[in-house]
Amino acid sequence: MSGGGEAQVAGLRLRSPVLVAAGCGGTGRELAAYAPLADLGAFTTRTVTSDPRAGAPAGRVVESPSGLVHATGLPNPGLDHFLATELPGLVAQDVRVVVSVAVTSAADAAALARRLGRAPGVSAVELALAPPGGRAEDAADEDLFAALEPHEAAGMVGTVARELPRGLPVWAKVRNDPDRVVAVARACVDAGAGAVVVGDGLPAMLPDGRPGGLGGPAVRPVALACVRRVVDALPHVDVVGVGGVATPTDVRAFLAAGARAVGVGTALLHDPTTAARLAAVLREETR
């Protein structure tokens, strides 16, 4: 188990086991207004795709008891624009940058990985294997790859891992699905993933019928179960737990279940100081 002051994931030393989860830290600039990003273990970017995406129509994030249902359609400026305008600002914050990517095909994944492999300042690539809309029709991200079967996940992880230079690991982000998570995680690791991030939002529905992903404290027990199952089955795999982390108790629970680090997501949308506060509490405990 990681110490409170630092962590190690896929061979990377992190200053803290507390990370910013994908899609919940803006461009990094907004979050940095409240606390320095350098005290965090890593900043996971919003999910970037090869081409720019405008995102879904209005009503993209909707309240649900102790949770938020997201159907943003992954708005992002595309990889080129991201590398030119957002990545340098993050690197300048002196924080490890994990770039979250979603892909449309194996060819897209390979091309994207080749370009990311040449970008300075990237610590890891997080491959979103189960974007919130999944394969649901009329999801804003329905053209994106979503792995339902372990061999599909393995194929895409392998494609990305082959194209990245040595020392730049792939983190496979899988769905918080306790029954399938072990098989998917094993396949990803066998295909070359350096770590498994558990996991993406639970498949859910917006009031207007659009598919989305549920995140927040409502899913925390599910995420904890997933982390525990993966760690029990694959004890040598580095697991990052994501799902409803909001308090120091939550961080300790994920670390006790065997996670090397935790991603803070929905809680940041409610209180932008959450990740910085959690990192500070854990640092203090290990002094």
Binding site: C24, G26, E30, P52, A54, V61, S66, H70, L269, H270
Partner: protein, 275 residues
């Protein structure tokens, strides 16, 4: 704090005073550090419900209406709340002394003209809140300020008295004619805009009104600045849940986050048909 640090802060505060006036509730809220950074057009995000039993995770944004010193306790924010959803009702009914979690000031404020030009300020109902401090700033710069205020009825109209203190001319329109002219705010726009001779039009209110303001300003060759009200789940720019379609740098379509790239946008930059 340096006088140029306008970055938002996340703080604990409390309800200092609460007063119902017709269909609106005027709140005075202690929010250390936010008032010092305030500029007209910015907002404050409030967490809904007590922390121990909090189940609602989206923030609720409110325009900052005024900033006033409270004896020895720094600056208090004045907010105007129309109770209509679960969040605004909770805040409107929160007793004096209720602890609050607040983040602000959020967003880009109204841009002020370099020259003392004539300005028209248009707003409806509680959304007139950011217009009053704007009127004061414009007057300090020597701008001739005309106000056009609308509401469905008198109970939802922000004080016309306050309006007369801060503007040279005030036109009031209500849907039911209970005060001022009867009709829609947008219908009075062309006439008031022409008589004001405004070179800049500022507006806050529902989207159809803002669209009408942007169009009328363009017709008159005036600039417009509109304060959009889009539900912003995080209000801090993190979640990309409040994107509005805008015209980009080279005329290309792109989107802006209402909470941090807005709420104030140039009217000619918003792609109204796609909103």
């Amino acid at each position: 704090m340096s006088s140029t640090d306008r970055r938002p802060v996340h703080v604990g505060g409390e309800v200092l005073a609460s007063r119902a006036s017709g269909g609106l509730v005027h709140l005075s809220v202690l929010a250390p550090g936010i008032g010092e950074r305030f500029r007209p057009g910015t907002a404050v995000a409030v967490s809904i419900g007590p922390p121990v039993s909090r189940s609602r995770l989206a923030r609720r944004s409110f325009w900052i209406h005024e900033v006033k010193p409270v004896g020895g306790r720094g600056l208090a924010l004045g907010l105007v709340v129309e109770p209509r959803g679960a969040g605004s009702r909770w805040l409107a009914e929160a007793p004096v002394g209720t602890p609050l979690e607040l983040t602000g000031p959020l967003g880009r404020p109204f841009a002020l003209p370099q020259e003392p030009v004539a300005c028209l300020l248009v707003a409806e109902e509680y959304a007139a809140a950011p217009i009053f401090p704007l009127a004061l700033r414009l007057r300090e710069r020597g701008c001739a300020v005309t106000l056009l205020l609308g509401a469905r009825d008198e109970a939802h109209l922000m004080s016309a008295l306050e309006a007369r203190r801060s503007a040279r001319a005030v036109t009031v329109v209500t849907g039911d004619g209970s005060v001022g002219r009867a009709g829609r705010t947008a219908d009075a726009l062309p006439e008031v805009l022409a008589s004001s001779g405004a070179e800049v039009v500022y507006a806050a209110g529902p989207t159809p009104l803002l669209h009408a303001v942007a169009a009328a300003a363009e017709d008159h060759g005036a600039w417009s600045q509109v304060a959009l009200e889009v539900p912003s789940p995080c209000a801090t720019g993190l979640c990309f849940g409040c994107q509005v379609p805008v015209v980009g740098e080279a005329g290309s379509p792109r989107s802006a986050r209402a909470c941090v790239d807005g709420p104030v946008l140039r009217g000619d930059r918003v792609r109204w048909a796609d909103l």
